[in-house]
């Protein structure tokens, strides 16, 4: 798996976080993991089809998710309810849409499936995929990670 796939997502995170949240994220070290597990308190899964096929899993803590929605709404958020998870899902959807645009500039034509939000860290779901890349991202309101597992369609 090539680093440029994850770079397209990282660039999209930078743009969307600056635009929507006034936050400048910073990337940390990329690691390779054996499979993808939705092990965070708030997980959002996006499927990719087209020249690249696979999935991307975003994992956030509860605190960071509530803070993100607070910045957007200007209101204190207390729990990971349908409003909060839907807002988070839409942010990830926007990020992924931008990432697909970035990938198209690299010559990959792809599409994304609607985001699937998985709340609750005990709901671990093994994606049973090939190896995945994990990119931890640091922000002033917490840390989150992007896991990506895609292959090129011949």
């Amino acid at each position: 798996m090539k680093a440029q796939y994850i770079n397209s997502f990282y660039k999209a995170v930078l743009d969307v976080f600056r635009l929507m949240l006034d936050i400048n994220p910073e990337r940390e070290e990329l690691t390779v993991v054996d499979d993808m597990i939705a092990g965070n308190e708030a997980n959002v899964m996006i499927g990719i089809t087209g020249d690249l096929a696979g999935s991307v899993l975003f994992g956030f803590t509860k605190d960071m998710t509530l803070e993100m929605v607070k910045i957007m709404s200007g209101m204190e958020m207390k729990k990971l309810d349908s409003f909060v998870s839907s807002a988070l899902g839409e942010v990830v959807n926007i990020i992924s849409g931008n990432a697909v645009t970035n990938l198209s500039k690299e010559g990959y034509t792809c599409d994304i499936s609607p985001p699937q939000v998985i709340i609750g860290e005990n709901r671990s779901i093994s994606m049973a995929t090939e190896k995945a890349l994990t990119l931890p991202i640091k922000t002033e309101i917490g840390k989150f990670e992007i896991n990506i597992s895609v292959r090129e369609n011949q």
Binding site: L19, G74, F83, S85, S86, A87, G89, V91
Partner: protein
Amino acid sequence: MWKEKYKIGVELIDGQHRELFRRVSDFVKTVQSEDKWDEKLSKVKETLEFMKAYVITHFDDEEAYQKEIGYPEYERHRQIHQRFKDEVQKYAEKFQEESYSEETVQEFGGKLMAWLINHVAGEDQKIGDFQNRGGSV
């Protein structure tokens, strides 16, 4: 919810955006309040009816303005508006089917807020930028 950085420098459009943000903000406040769902349902329905009509008025006005200044991305922008209107319509149908379930209305609220912020802070700014450059690409 509204931020001054969302202004694009066109009075009519900025005014409508402010109103949209105000309404979405009210809507979120209502659906997130501790009151019983039955008690807030009339306010929820009223806001949804207003939004449905207002979004169309605003999109029409904004598209007319883009045409007037010869905005080159008019067609692409119109399609983004159309996809959003379709999405709102789908939710409106779902609300009817489910008699305005709290879960679906909350879901709609979250999506609407994030969509609006991204659209106004991103896509709509390009209209202002184009106009500020004197209408050249």
